[in-house]
Subunit: 370 residues, 2 copies
């Protein structure tokens, strides 16, 4: 049985265990995970309908049917195409009816289905309850199989290789955007897709979600480079810090603290501790060094077929870590108006601790300015 | 008053006219349209809350607050940031409560809000009715102001200029993907963002939504090139057809029919006719020539701050055309296993007919193969 049909069966088991009568999955990471079909997010409805018992069906617009079939989805589930002037929700209702769902059903909707579709579903197939798709999907995706960890390991090495070439691209006089475009090409050479490229220089480094801008790199700049792509369906994500010539005042010290914090976070990882303990371990180091107010985000996020997924490594998340979970450990320190730094590795939880899936040098890389 | 706050006020008027008590808008084209804020679609909630009366507020994660403020959104509406461990829906409920909405309210949710957020909203602020955000937004976005048409005209010229350079990129021995990357660079030179690049050669041209693949271009190939980007917030979208050397058997004839069909579609456009009549006008020419079964999609889609938006130019849509509407007229003929062709212009409805916003040569372009 192809791995993907096994995943549909596991989803059905999870639905029966949780009292969910059907699951609806639009174009999303969950659809890729379940069927291997990378559907486009279009205003025309594409929806995988998975009843708790019986056969799943994929409702697709006629126009998309060739892509759906080419993906192999038709080998796994019944594909029902709808024509340009038909109501696709009648097909959805037919599949649900054919599966003979309960009288007062509870339905789960994949988390990222557009509200326009969610509201139409609620109209087309009234139910007693509507729950988030994650109710069904999170357990499947939260811990990875050894094959999935191997895929994350491969893509982790690929992004490490990109970081090794970043120093060649950083030169005073180039803009962040120019550097970003070169990095995107390197990512694409090692992955199937570029997910994001952050090149945050000087004061831009103090904004954790800055992407790239027209700012020109200058000697003495600290540069945060946070990059990721998708290869064979799994995501990479890795952040390192660079300086052009001598580090600005205080930056090496800040980076030393950050490195110790990241080490402490990774060292804390083992099955059974709560996700928030990893956050606390990294944060404690930064707070003790007096930088607490400058660490303005959570310590990490899960990763897999999506670049951001559960488990969230954040205060308040008491989810116990389990072998096979994979997530980022990425503390950051952001000094507004001056500079910022973030060190990020993806780690996989092992039976006794953590395996780092990124191993490229963690130190601050000094790029000679000539 | 900045144009964007005027748009929020117009949305509030539309809400009062339609009995909607509040509108919720997540990261989307509607948010860009209303506030000029290009928010990232993240698992952390960003939500513009617009009550029918009173002041709107933007609920943003702390981490995104600098981007929201930099966008100018804070000059237009109250920005309420929520911290990493807070429940953002309490902020949403507070804004709704402060606006004093009706007892049995009806709420509108922007069409692309993720279901995870939609379901949480339905829990956090129970209502008598939940309607699609388009109920409020469609009238605002359906007809464009003269300034918006001017923006579409500028971006139309930009994509025409890219098409003028496509023949230089098409050579036997290059892959679709290589050509596509070059085209993406040309688009980026003329726009702020690349939206999509379709280079569909030979039999790949028979799949309307093929993007690019590793297929190597060969003398005698027909190539469909459908490209678009975003400039100053407005989208371009233009399709032309090329052949490498002599056209394959029957292709020139097919293209002649298609050109006549596209002309007929554009010629039919004027205020007062139904959107579906444009589809019918183009389709009639293709059917009369015996290619009806190979025209497998609607004739067009509206365009503006989004590349696909209302009005849909499709059978069954009796929406009367109005001055200021802008949409594509893009009939196609797809012969499975052989080749395909599509000719697309964006047109704006004028007082008496249509203005083509793309004017680059519509004929089949023969690229010499040396």
């Amino acid at each position: 049985m192809p791995a993907t049909l096994a995943r549909v069966r596991r989803a059905q088991e999870a639905m029966r265990a949780r009292g969910v009568d059907a699951l609806f999955v639009g174009p999303s990471a969950d659809l890729r995970y379940l069927l291997g079909y990378h559907a486009l997010p279009l205003e025309r409805l594409t929806l995988l309908v998975v009843p708790a018992e019986g056969d799943a069906a994929l409702v697709v617009p006629e126009l998309e049917a060739p892509r759906a079939v080419a993906s192999g989805a038709a080998d796994l589930v019944d594909v029902r195409t709808w024509g340009e002037t038909e109501d696709p929700f009648r097909h959805v209702a037919d599949v649900v009816r054919a599966a003979g769902v309960a009288d007062r059903p509870v339905y789960a909707v994949q988390d990222r289905l557009w509200s326009a579709f969610t509201l139409r579903l609620q109209e087309a197939i009234p139910a007693d309850g509507w729950v988030a798709g994650t109710t069904v999907m999170r357990e499947l995706r939260l811990t990875k199989t050894p094959e999935e960890i191997a895929a994350l390991r491969r893509v982790g090495r690929a992004i490490d290789d990109v970081h090794r070439r970043v120093p060649d691209l950083l030169r005073p006089g180039r803009t962040e955007s120019e550097v970003g475009r070169d990095i995107a090409e390197l990512i694409l050479a090692e992955h199937d897709e570029v997910n994001f490229v952050i090149v945050a220089s000087g004061p831009n480094g103090a904004s954790p979600h800055h992407e790239t801008a027209d700012r020109v790199l200058t000697a003495g700049d600290a540069v945060v480079v946070d990059i990721g792509g998708t290869g064979d369906g799994y995501c990479s994500d890795n952040t390192r810090n660079y300086v052009l010539g001598a580090p600005p005042d205080g930056y090496q010290e800040l980076h030393d603290v950050l490195l110790a914090a990241q080490e402490a976070g990774v060292a804390s990882v083992r099955p059974g501790i709560a996700a928030e303990e990893v956050d606390a371990a990294a944060r404690a180091v930064i707070e003790a060094a007096g930088y607490g107010e400058f660490f303005v985000h959570r310590t990490g996020h899960g990763i897999g077929v999506e670049e951001h997924e559960e488990p969230w490594i954040v205060a308040g998340n008491d989810e116990p870590l389990r072998e096979g979970m994979a997530f980022s450990v990425e503390p950051g320190i952001y000094v507004p108006g001056r500079y910022g730094a973030r060190i990020e590795d993806i780690v996989a939880v092992t039976a006794s601790g953590a395996e780092r899936l990124n191993t490229v040098d963690h130190d601050l890389t000094v790029v000679p300015t000539g």
